[in-house]
Amino acid sequence: METLLEDFISDEDLKTCEKLYNDELRRGIRNPKTKFDYAWCLIRSRYPADTRKGVLFMEDLFKNGDESARRDYVYYLAFGKCKLKEYSSANRYIKAFLEIEPSNRQAKELQEVIQKRITREGLAGAAIAGGIVAVVVGTAFALLKK
């Protein structure tokens, strides 16, 4: 799963998808399939701005896209949010997915990664908070001594 999260699409492939999507848009065609392809490519981009745009597209597809592809949209929403380090919303999406398909191995693997990262971020956050507390207490003591 970590490999998938770190695997970036080539600029060439991204451009091809983008062109297809824009061409259809210009001709007034609204094809959820093309939009999904483009959204997936965007999510796989090395640039967070692209990934963010891809997530927005997936959110739109979830509301207005193909009913039968909803599980795919939700999975990629979790995947995209995880790439963007927005772990709590990633976790919400993957939980929603697992409520419908509790034994899906791919989704379980993604959830594991998300939860591992939440714990890690939590620890880092606690360490930073701990550091701040130490500084504040230290300063307070220093001031008292004066």
């Binding site: 799963m1 970590e2 490999t3 998938l4 770190e6 695997d7 699409i9 080539s10 492939d13 998808c17 399939k33 999904f36 392809d37 997936w40 490519c41 592809a69 599980r71 795919d72 999975y75 990629y76 398909e101 034994s103 899906n104 191995r105 791919q106 890690r120 880092a124």
Partner: protein, 232 residues
Amino acid sequence: MRTISRTDRSRDAVRCTTMTESGPYNYSYIFKYIIIGDMGVGKSCLLHQFTEKKFMSDCPHTIGVEFGTRIIEVAGQKIKLQIWDTAGQERFRAVTRSYYRGAAGALMVYDVTRRSTYNHLSSWLTDARNLTNPNTVIFLIGNKSDLEAQREVPYEEAKQFADENGLMFLECSAKTGDRVEDAFLETARKIYQNIQDGNLDLNAAESGVQHKPQTQNTLLGNIQDKKESCNC
């Protein structure tokens, strides 16, 4: 500024995990594989049987792609296989095509109990030929060989198709595990032979093969130093 240092740290953390799980560069080559074929032929089950030595009885349709690795040995050389397992559903076809590039081996799978999956092989083969390089080893796999009573595609027929198209071929069963290893290993042997024969340019990014030369040892030392100092 803080964001940058945090990214660096998480990157180190990832590297450390990899180190502890697989040991530092205990292989001399990396081969990239893709698994392709219609949905429901058992691509993910083959991968799982190969990497975990277990059969998944309840296997949902793959979303997009999955990834698996295993280190094998060919002619005394340790080789790490990086296997990309693509979704067979038509709706993923456009995007899964982007994973073909730079594959050293392509496992093209059909289901011996469903003729339609065999009939679609020419379309999969066209994709494989167009999107990989001329030296990519394409291995045809007839899966579910344990279901002899339901067989719809005779062995001889598929063998002939393989011969006509210059493909390697075998039938196997992801369920019983029969000949699954052979499919992955024979592909690797063929790729390795191509390297020995000088047919593969290891410097080309598209070859799907990475060589880990001896000089890695110095790099290895650096990484291990880092391992000591990182907090993971």
